[in-house]
Symmetry: C2
Subunit: 807 residues, 2 copies
Amino acid sequence: MTEHTTIPASGGLLSDRELHDIDAYWRAANYLTIGQIYLLDNPLLREPLRLKHVKPRLLGHWGTSPGLSFIYAHLNRVIRLRDANVIYICGPGHGGPAMVANTYLEGTYSELNPDIAMDEQGMRKLFRQFSFPGGIPSHAAPDVPGSIHEGGELGYSLSHAYGAAFDNPDLVVACVVGDGEAETGPLAAAWHSNKFLNPARDGAVLPILHLNGYKIANPTILARIPEEELRALFTGYGYEPLFVEGHEPAFMHERMASVLDDAFDRIQTIQHAARNGLAPTAPRPKWPMIVLRSPKGWTGPKEVDGLKTEGFWRSHQVPLSGLAENPAHLALLEEWLKSYRPEELFDAAGAPVAAIRATAPQATRRMSANPHANGGLLRRSVDLPGLHDHAVSLERPGAVKAESTRVMGSFLRDVMRLNEAAKNFRIVGPDETASNRLQDVFEVTERGWMEKILPEDVHLGRDGRVLEILSEHTCQGWLEGYLLTGRHGLFSCYEAFIHIVDSMFNQHAKWLDACREIPWRRPISSLNYLLSSHVWHQEHNGFSHQDPGFIDVALNKKADIVRVYLPPDANTLLCVTDHVLQTWNRINVIVAGKPPSWQWLSMDKAIVHCRAGIGIWDWASTDDGAEPDVVMACAGDVPTLETLAAVQILRQEVPDLRIRVVNVVDLMTLQPKEFHPHGLSDREFDALFTTDKPVIFAYHGYPWTIHRLTYRRTNHDNIHVRGYNEEGTTTTPFDMTVMNGLDRYHIVESVLQWVPRLGRVRIGLKQKMDSKLLEHRAYIRSHGQDMPEILDWKWGQGPDAAPKRPV
Amino acid sequence: MTEHTTIPASGGLLSDRELHDIDAYWRAANYLTIGQIYLLDNPLLREPLRLKHVKPRLLGHWGTSPGLSFIYAHLNRVIRLRDANVIYICGPGHGGPAMVANTYLEGTYSELNPDIAMDEQGMRKLFRQFSFPGGIPSHAAPDVPGSIHEGGELGYSLSHAYGAAFDNPDLVVACVVGDGEAETGPLAAAWHSNKFLNPARDGAVLPILHLNGYKIANPTILARIPEEELRALFTGYGYEPLFVEGHEPAFMHERMASVLDDAFDRIQTIQHAARNGLAPTAPRPKWPMIVLRSPKGWTGPKEVDGLKTEGFWRSHQVPLSGLAENPAHLALLEEWLKSYRPEELFDAAGAPVAAIRATAPQATRRMSANPHANGGLLRRSVDLPGLHDHAVSLERPGAVKAESTRVMGSFLRDVMRLNEAAKNFRIVGPDETASNRLQDVFEVTERGWMEKILPEDVHLGRDGRVLEILSEHTCQGWLEGYLLTGRHGLFSCYEAFIHIVDSMFNQHAKWLDACREIPWRRPISSLNYLLSSHVWHQEHNGFSHQDPGFIDVALNKKADIVRVYLPPDANTLLCVTDHVLQTWNRINVIVAGKPPSWQWLSMDKAIVHCRAGIGIWDWASTDDGAEPDVVMACAGDVPTLETLAAVQILRQEVPDLRIRVVNVVDLMTLQPKEFHPHGLSDREFDALFTTDKPVIFAYHGYPWTIHRLTYRRTNHDNIHVRGYNEEGTTTTPFDMTVMNGLDRYHIVESVLQWVPRLGRVRIGLKQKMDSKLLEHRAYIRSHGQDMPEILDWKWGQGPDAAPKRPV
């Protein structure tokens, strides 16, 4: 391990005292890191280290930790000297013990966890709890103060960092990117986020690529490519790379201090120029980034059992193990711990000595206590426009058509406008804002863009609050970072391609779930998805664009976190949008279509319907409040249309059939109450779906999803679901429903199949439906488009409401 | 639109004749592309264009198409002149009509689809079928000859290209990367694939970044950054970028021909040096790549309705629309089509003129007929070692422990060895091969690596057949490309993080599904996943590493494509591995653990069990073949262990309880036969699970997955599932099961709850189980690890088989 001799006089930027203190801080952080990984007891080594002091299971990651603490120590220096406002994003989140160690040295950890005090007893608890049952996880999980990024799954640190920096002009987000993480796709794409960061309006991101050379059992790519390629790569990404390379502590302290000063100077220069009109139309600035090349497991054992350990992947997790079987390893551990000279670092009570405490900043300047990293502290509600101002007005169901997401776009335009001063609302998406028909927002803002702007460009500007990059990963990461720092937003995406971020969704859901247990974590705004251009509207792009399965990924996460909404028309979509923008600590998935579609509910009715999340549509039903012959349920805009068209056929053809139409907006209402807070009680469910009548359920996604939600319900055996069966290609919109058996004719056939008393009419109507289907097929094959729609909705007009002519 | 005057004499590399012919080919391809998007009839414009000749719905993407055809034409030239072996990967797969056009000009399309002949009638059909109901999709779907990449979801072209090039030393994979696609994470990561390509052993990838400047409604990042950054970026990625920029056809032909010659020369030089010992230990070569900057919608209408169209995003899809309402647009379309001078391109019969045909290569040198792009043509079975040679030998169930994946690793080592000469088997993974305990493969091969190798490096070499990069996307793309070109492989990954490739999985499943309908597509090897370090073994990394939901993503895809295996021990894992490596056109998901675990089945029994996929374990059951009191079902290694431990407790405590143990290896057996080819008939299912007895089902993943699979079964109402409920943190392995109620004690309690006749023993045993749980909790909180295991399996030893001492 590294010889921690007294640091020599530097003769450089740092005074001897500064050098000594910063090194002591770093040694203390390393000591506390190793302590967490190894020690159950004897935290200050005040007695000889024995096996009983060591944890029986050694868990955790040493390799990245000394580098993380080195960076932390030097950021502290810069913060102190400049009164800078900095948060720290730890890409290699498995360096959790290092992050905990630093927050403990800053005092924040003890403030938030009073039983882990800054004394020997507290240190014992600090060590013991780490990766211990009932204790804390090994990653930079939500219980680590100052963390907005757990880093368990790699790849998202840099997009989180940019998300945090947007609209936070005073903030510098220091983002440590591991060289393993740097190999991931999401991270590789996120470097280009600098094309969207406006130095006049946004804060700064300072990426620190930590090249410690190794992953679990392999070298990393970026650590092994030639230096000139590394430099070219980051120049190509648009940064000014600054290098800190070495392993000798005194030299490295000196160098890091100087490079960090340089980086912060450059940031200040860029921001000053942009904010003082010195470079208003200049091209995007070249922001600095730092490449820190230091040994993996730096200051750890150089060799273990004759094998290279420091500066190699053997340091990745626990460099010394098998202590029970190998007394030499126990001795080596003690020697290693003592190499940091704990007696110089902690006082008699076990608290860090004053000189070490003094190297950290104070109060909320501490990165572990910066309110931006506990965004709920800063979160203010978003101002919302009046729902009725945007409502589609309709005299009766089916009276008009509207483009649902277009209407939502006008609402979002006003959200943008109302919160323009607060600068706390953004829309992100992969170049699909207009394609998803939200283009009205461009009346009040633009797409953010820091590259060249040509005269012919449309809605492109430096101050745009819509962020579009063809990377769903980057969109998701930006929005997460933006929300985690206390702001609001929406991610608009094609339904099929939101699967690209399945795993990021999972991680964010787990983050939110873990936060519920941490009292000092304040609620953050929900992550809201609008999934449009959905499976039923991908008839033009074809099979590869058809996938409604994200809902199923979402349903696997904790009920408290996830909501799925399937508004059937524009007014219900508005209600849902208005609602989700007011919620916190959730992930809301809204699926809604964009083409002109029939509208069903007035705004007043939509509000009532959405509040319940599910309900009987009396105006479409023919059961007059009595027990129906059949329940026709629907969830999703296209299934609702096809169900209502089927109902219209049945009203015409089987006038005495008692039909009950149930529409589901909030999918979670279907689950039992004990499984989801929105779930109906069994009594409520039975009141809607009966206990014994056939239920023909037309659903937006995969049919089994409805079964998965309702298998405990009394009437489950009678629920027959139609949905997407992976039958699709490039065809017409109506043919998409036919291919999957979700169309009106198949729905009528389902009713014929399952309603027992229809014996007489069954054969004739079945033939009629079959011939309709043949007619459809012949028409689209010859015309290449759907037959003109001859539906004539007459709902809600008294006894004559049934349609007058055949459909 | 571009003035297609007679091409002037070039005075450069191309003779006048060559220039003329290549331009004619290109014009023909463009004409055919526009024809597909627009025309129902009058394909050669032999009468004035009228509205009735035009499709009613205009679908497709013009913007990228002329660039794709330009590249195609020039690759054809290089192939002809050098007799090169080239396939074409079309990243912007939505340029489908261009790809179809080129394959039609090469004659391949008509050979494979005889009713689309090379005459006027065939051309009419070619046009009509595109994006038309019953016709072909708008992307480069499987029905496009020469395509191994549909490109519907963007981001995977380059990893597919490298996958195709591995172990194909004579192949050059030309890979067109769209500048939109280049913004995605997976694509950004895939550039680094060059660090794994060995010029001596592998083929070459020639990336062609097509900068046409725009996505759907935005400029692209790479098209707008300064030229020096663009150059630095690709230098940094390790390439030698060659630029082709402009829009004037004659100039561009000349330039492209010359740059392509340069690129192919460079490839030859690199390969020659590597293969002739001229550069055996040299660093990775700088492979060439091409940046082609040409206008979006090149040669299309310059302006439409006064708005810039050529060279702008308005060209992205259909530049001229609303033809019915706007006669000027119809006239413009005719003018545009005629600008290519079709009368010079097609003869009286409607076939491409001889000069155009002659610019394309012949037979299998045509990129559309290259067998590598229909990999099943080249696929040879993989040689497999004997199962019994690798079997764990055990006298009776529970006699020994083994590390399942370690045993699998020894099998894979021999697969590597047996197929070393054939060079057709690879393992990919994100730096987890050893972590997942497959390290025995390193006895016969290494990790492939073309960067510097240090003396201390372990199992790292130029010829390694294990590919590790910390990018699940790149791993998946490589393997897909490798399989699609006729080879075999395995992707080993942590279970939780395979969600990262959910969307790629979906796309590959859709590709395979579509291939089933295309007779000339030969079967390719299945894509095999080993998911290890699974949810129940992530007690050390914690919550972020726990997610068994990939199975659910897989289940949503077509039954013919997907298989999910949950082998309970090493021998069953071997059987499953042996099986999946012999299958084709499937995606096989295997979930198996790595720590030392009890073994249950001898190899002979394992073979029988795996062949059935599900079965009663007589040796653990106590129903003696009669109707049981309870069925205890299990799927997955940890659930099987906990179920058997629960059975042991019950045998001890309730000796007369008739228990039937059912183990499920092949999850698909649970589905009804009509839903999945592996599904049990209802009779078979009822014979195993009874029609009315309680079933306590311990399952590896989310409990509702079992309900989703079995909701149609007779006895479904009595199936009670325990599984993962998103309750996890950093704790002990056994505590993971306790937190989720999957442990033996909770399983016993389930039996007590649901078996009616247990009245008397219920209370006492329930208390015993509760106190066991309390004991467990107290123990791990104080010791930090699980209690020593005191199980003593005595299965299968006659009447005394029940355990002798309490557990």
